[in-house]
Amino acid sequence: MRATVSPRRGFLGMLTEVAFACGLIGLGFVVSWLFFLGR
């Protein structure tokens, strides 16, 4: 494990992950919205 976790990297990593999760949730909303439009 050559790479290290520094506080700055760790924090950015956390932000990236959280952003991904939010993005996925957002996609979910888009899908439900699209399905309702198509109804």
């Binding site: 990236t16 996925l24 979910g28 909303f29 439009l37």
Partner: protein, 480 residues
């Protein structure tokens, strides 16, 4: 057990605190007694290690049930074992009676079980499965881990705990603040925050009250929890990669890609079913109810913002089946989640694609498949085979559990849903799991949760070890 005891003391729940004190003493007593009678100078081999891993689960299951039994909220000792197994395997199904009236201490215990169980499993997965299973679990960053296993175990465990504890802090504060904003008294709000975080991060699915997430009547609470349980379902090696600077990995990793695709696909099926039945009046409701259950299922969390029977009475068979499939596929490898695992889905799908390419290519062309998991790897026959083998084993336990349910008269959709929920350690329930459930079903679900959690290997090793011990005992007797 000390933490719940202190919790009970803080809330002045004297009887509950005493129950935990008794449990602590009893556990220590059993531990020291066992250590006393099994002192040996031999160092444990790999087989011994696997037996210890699997066997200690059973001991933990039984001893952890003591606080439950003492609380008087269990109908039987088997029920207590069910709940502790459910906790440690981060499943989330429960047979506890009258959840709405238990002590804060017992609630702390329940949620701690999933948090600790989840972390423990990740450490186990990342250390025991390196090198074995034909390369399908090459989940470490770097090269050649076989030689120096020991220092890496400690290193791994420390990293995992560090990431999890940081998220625990962040999560408790965030969820606690949301709870407070929603009207829960401040001193309670942060306990709720801790409980829900532990439930989410460990993809356990317990909640302090029987209404699960419905208790909070808060979309903010649900969304925050969703973020945490999605993250909790990720491979810890991925967390490590992203936290150490390799942020692009999150978009390239085969598990994340697989997860995103299967989430959107199964969710589309859910939407289809719900719209066809006209269950929800608008997109917001469809999203808030439909997506939450689906993603809770797919990450094998098991938190819910609808009543269990609503699955049966409103969602209907297709909605249930889509959710069942999502649960069956499950989360990422080396995470607290269960199911087939995204890694295997990705490997199998790519394996099929590669085979098709081979068929369509000229005879002499060399076709190799690749998959990206922290680094690019070759899709060898061995890798695809082991992935497929474990998937088959999962399907086996899912089906056996479903058949047992159906044999007792439960409808197929219900029985399959619940069986997959147990075997994938999800914990969503459609109403089948009750204390009044047939005893055999409880046992089958306990076994499903256990085997699903340990991905079969440790359990098979344990049984194999017991079998060979018996055989050698018999031979020994025959010789004598």
């Amino acid at each position: 057990m000390v933490i719940p005891m202190v919790t009970s003391l803080v809330f002045r729940e004297w009887a509950s605190a005493l129950d935990f004190a008794i449990s602590v003493i009893l556990t220590l007593l059993v531990g020291y007694t066992l250590a006393l009678i099994s002192r040996t100078k031999n160092t444990p081999g790999l087989t011994h290690a696997m037996v210890i891993a699997a066997g200690s689960w059973l001991i933990a299951m039984v001893l952890s049930g003591v606080p439950y039994m003492l609380s008087g909220h269990m109908k039987s000792f088997l029920d207590a074992c069910f709940d502790t197994m459910s906790g440690y395997t981060t499943t989330g199904l429960f047979l506890l009676q009258d959840l709405d009236h238990i002590s804060q201490g017992l609630n702390m215990w329940r949620h701690l079980l999933t948090y600790v169980g989840g972390q423990g499993i990740v450490v186990l997965a990342l250390t025991f499965l390196i090198g074995s299973t034909g390369g399908a679990f090459k989940i470490m960053v770097g090269e050649g881990k076989e030689e120096k296993l020991e220092p890496n175990v400690r290193h791994i465990a420390v990293l995992i705990w560090r990431i999890s504890l940081i998220y625990l802090g962040v999560g408790t504060v965030v969820l606690g603040l949301i709870a407070m904003a929603n009207g829960i008294k401040p001193y309670l709000a942060f306990f709720h925050g801790a409980y829900i975080f532990m439930s989410a991060w460990s993809t356990g699915g317990f909640a302090p009250y029987s209404q699960n997430m419905l208790y909070y009547h808060s979309s903010a609470m649900e969304i925050a929890s969703m973020v945490f349980f999605i993250l909790g379902s990720f491979n810890f090696a991925l967390h490590y990669a992203v936290w150490s600077g390799n942020r692009k990995e999150i978009l390239r990793n085969v598990e994340i890609v697989s997860f995103t695709i299967t989430v959107l696909t199964t969710f589309s099926l859910v939407c289809l079913a719900l719209i066809q039945r006209g269950v929800y009046p608008n997109a917001v409701a469809l999203f808030r109810r439909g997506f939450f259950q689906l993603i809770s299922g797919h990450t094998t969390t098991g938190q819910s913002n609808i009543y269990a029977r609503t699955f049966v009475r409103e969602w209907g068979p297709l909605g249930m089946l889509a959710t069942t499939i999502a649960m069956a596929i499950g989360a990422s490898a080396a995470s607290t989640g269960g199911g087939f695992k995204g890694l295997r889905m990705g490997i199998i799908v790519k394996g099929i694609a590669t085979d098709i390419r081979k068929l369509l290519s000229p005879e002499r062309a060399v076709v190799t498949g690749h998959y990206h998991h922290l680094r690019d790897s070759v899709l060898s026959e061995g890798v695809v085979k082991s992935a497929a083998l474990i998937v088959v084993l999962y399907i086996l336990i899912y089906v056996v559990g479903a058949v047992v349910g159906m044999a007792y008269g439960y409808p197929m959709a219900d029985a399959l849903f619940e069986s997959v929920s147990a075997g994938s350690n999800t914990g969503l329930s459609c109403g089948v799991t009750q204390a009044t459930m047939p005893t055999l079903m409880k046992i089958v679900y306990i076994l499903e949760m256990w085997m699903g959690r340990l991905e079969f290997l440790s359990v098979f090793t344990l049984f194999g070890f017991i079998a060979t011990s018996f055989r050698s005992m018999r031979h020994g007797k025959a010789a004598a």
